[in-house]
């Protein structure tokens, strides 16, 4: 469903992604790990269409379409969802109203009728239960004053409401307590089926105990330098990134 080929992207005067290749098929879970500053969030942002980053070369195809030509909102309509590493606050705008606007805009993009209040509420109740979120939280201004964990849970709640084809989770597990990780992971798993896929950026093996990846990629200095099965995550946890850095350095010297 997603094919990234030799993707180069960056900000003015600085290349951050230096040739990414990645293929994701329906039903798969891919994990991306890598040291701070290696470009994980940048990759997620480029996929979602953030225009702070310029794509200088390469291609991204999603469900047969050239993703790079689409606006961020069209990408959302096509089924790309990004759970932000740092969810944004919008004072005065209630989370419920925001999510309602979001759900109905995405439906509009897909040529579907907007949900009426009753249908929306029903869907919302169901997903609230899934994410163990209280309605009082959703009545508050979007992310304003939410705890770190509440913000992350709210991201996955929105994902549940939107049922994306490709969910990109950017460190959705960071800052979560042990119970919350389980809730978030359960939420993500409940949404999985043979037609959708997950790209999870994480620093910790812990999340991958719950959301079991088909592939683990190591992003280092703007490139995917190693891909392996789920055991790779364990190995990284034990040995850190140094052994990979060494492997690369050796490789480059040759």
């Amino acid at each position: 469903m997603l094919t990234i080929q030799d993707l180069h992207a960056g900000v003015e005067g600085k290349e951050i992604l230096k040739g990414i290749n990645l293929e994701i098929k329906p039903g798969e879970v891919h994990a991306i790990m890598g040291p701070n500053g290696s470009g994980k969030s940048t990759l997620a942002s480029v996929l979602a269409g953030r225009n702070d980053f310029t794509v200088t070369s390469g291609s991204v195809e999603f469900m047969g379409k050239n993703l790079l030509e689409l606006s961020p909102e069209a990408r959302a309509g096509e089924g790309i969802f990004l759970a932000f590493q740092y969810p944004v606050e919008i004072p005065g705008l209630s989370t419920i109203n925001f999510v309602k606007a979001s759900v109905n805009e995405v439906r509009k993009y897909r040529g579907e009728q907007p949900l009426d209040a009753v249908e929306f509420l029903k869907l919302m109740k169901e997903k609230m239960a899934l994410m163990n979120i209280d309605q009082s939280l959703l009545r508050r201004s979007l992310n304003e004053g939410f705890s770190g964990g509440e913000k992350k849970r709210n991201e996955v709640f929105q994902m549940a409401m939107l049922k994306p084809r490709l969910a990109v989770l950017d460190e959705t597990d960071s800052g979560l307590d042990i119970d919350a990780i389980r809730i978030v992971a359960n939420g993500v798993n409940a949404l999985r089926n043979k037609d959708n896929a997950v790209l999870a950026v994480t620093h910790y093996q812990r999340l991958l105990d719950y959301i079991i990846p088909d592939f683990v990629h190591v992003l280092y200095n703007g490139r995917i330098v190693k891909t392996g099965p789920k055991e790779l995550a364990l190995e990284l946890e034990e040995r850190g990134y140094d052994f990979i850095k060494n492997e690369i350095n050796v490789g480059e010297e040759v």
């Binding site: 979602a48 919008i90 705008l93 979001s102």
Partner: protein
């Protein structure tokens, strides 16, 4: 600059949808202003002698005054001799009932979403419709009269209820108060009069809809609301004008009086024509609005949503004279393109244990300039006065200006005065977050500004709130792409 910011930069007013002109013959005064014009207006309205004298006195005073220049607004000098001070749609005969209103005029108001047909009206709102210098009809008069509520045009009130008008007109905003109130006192044409008798809660919202239609015409309306002991009224004011290349002057005066335990809630949605993208045309809106909390425990609350006008100069104020009285000011002022707004409030604490609350939300886009100007004054004898002010500005471009001028004068040291102010810019992060959730930038801006303005919008009566929300979005809607 990023594309998203550019989209906001390019944000332009969607075509002003109230910009049409009604083709109707008008009965007009000749251009210009002198004592004869004042007499002409008074005669047109069949006014009693005392009213004419009052107007003339105001006019003579006005001649000695100079236009104020302290506000943070710029405009070419206004030629007061180049304005028509009276224009009334010619109707065959004065309509005796709403059924007899000229169909053309009825249509004008229908187009504006104001039905003068009582059956079709929302049952919760009574309307006085004012076009140019005259009121053309007031709905639900009989129902209101049964409760002793007087709701009619100012002209009618002068004729039918002279004792009330004489007693209160100019009692809150003296004719000499300022340049524009003096001008208004001399040439005011029409407006609404409301009188709520002792102990009566108005069962419906009272509203006046002002429409400028004729060319080169100024509108000078005058509104007076008196709420007797223990009464309550919620009053709404709406306004629009055609799109014209030249600027039109609007100088209104509104006076509110609340007796013991009375409450007046006054809401405005101001949508005069703001001018075009280049800043040509638009209404100059110089308005004096003031409320007097005369009685113990009385309350006056102003809510305004200001989206129109090329220039807004307006400071709805409250004199907190009665002990334990309360004043509130809730404002959203949106400026776009080349609009300029200098608006705020004055809370004058006179009595003991008085309270005031100010919530001002300024939203600026394009090349516009948006200033909050507020005064909190606590007098010598105003024991235990309390004020809280919150002034927030939201910027949508980097060429617009947002300014805050809070003045605080405290003469009694038992007072507690709090002031908070913030300035923020719609962040690209916020827009991208919305975009990522499928919401395009235009819709995202609407969501964000409605969130920003929510505390004020919540003060509006339901029927108005929805309209006002749409209006906010429309005023800032851009032609994306």
């Amino acid at each position: 600059m990023s594309d998203e910011l550019k989209v906001i930069e390019e944000t332009v007013l969607k075509d002003y949808k109230y910009g049409f002109v009604t083709d109707i013959e008008a009965d007009e005064a000749p251009k210009g202003l002198n004592e004869d014009i004042v007499r002409f207006i008074s005669a047109k309205k069949n006014e009693p002698e005392w009213m004419l004298e009052w107007r003339l006195k105001a006019f003579r005073h006005w001649l000695k005054m100079t236009e104020p220049n302290w506000a943070n607004i710029k405009y070419p000098p206004i030629d007061y001799q180049d304005i028509i001070y009276y224009s009334a749609p010619k109707q065959k005969a004065k309509p005796k009932s709403l059924d007899e209103i000229d169909p053309e005029l009825r249509k004008t108001f229908e187009k504006l979403g104001i039905s003068l047909d009582e059956q079709k009206r929302l049952s919760g709102v009574a309307v006085d419709a004012v076009i140019d210098s005259v009121s053309i009809g007031t709905t639900f008069k009989t129902q209101l009269a049964e409760l002793g509520i007087i709701f009619c045009s100012m002209s009618e009130a002068i004729r039918e209820h002279p004792e009330l008008v004489r007693k209160y007109l100019g009692s809150v905003v003296p004719m000499t108060d300022n340049y524009f109130s003096a001008l208004n006192s001399a040439v005011f044409s029409d407006g609404s009069f409301c009188y709520i008798p002792k102990g009566v809660r108005s069962p419906m919202e009272l509203s006046t809809y002002f429409r400028i239609n004729a060319e080169n015409t100024g509108q000078f309306e005058r509104t007076l609301i008196v709420a007797e002991e223990g009464s309550y009224v919620s009053y709404l004011e709406g306004c629009t004008a055609p799109m014209r290349d030249e600027n039109q002057l609007h100088a209104a005066v509104v006076e509110l009086i609340a007796m013991d335990n009375a409450e007046i809630k006054y809401s405005t949605v101001q949508n005069w024509y703001p001018g075009d993208k280049q800043g040509n045309g638009g209404v100059y809106n110089f308005v004096t609005k003031r409320g007097m909390c005369q009685g113990r425990q009385s309350k006056i609350s102003w809510t305004q949503v200001e989206t129109g006008s090329a220039i807004t100069w307006k400071y709805p104020s409250v004199i907190l004279k009665g002990d334990h009285s309360a004043g509130e000011f809730y404002s959203v002022a949106v400026t776009n393109n080349h609009q300029q707004a200098d608006t705020g409030t004055k809370m004058l604490h006179v009595g003991k244990n008085t309270k005031s609350r100010i919530v001002s939300k300024g939203i600026s886009a394009g090349f516009s300039n948006n200033s909050y100007r507020g005064l909190v004054h606590v007098g010598k004898n105003a024991l235990n006065a309390r004020n809280f002010s919150q002034c927030d500005s939201l910027l949508l471009s980097d060429k617009c200006g947002a300014h805050t001028f809070p003045y605080i004068e405290v003469k009694n040291n038992s007072a507690v005065v709090e002031h908070e102010a913030t300035t923020s810019k719609i962040g690209e992060d916020q827009l991208f977050y919305c975009n990522q959730r499928g919401i395009d930038t235009e819709a995202a801006i609407a969501l964000i500004i409605n969130g920003f303005a929510k505390e004020v919008m919540n003060q509006l009566p339901m029927e108005f709130a929805v309209e006002a929300q749409k209006l906010l979005a429309i005023s800032l809607e851009g032609s994306v792409g």
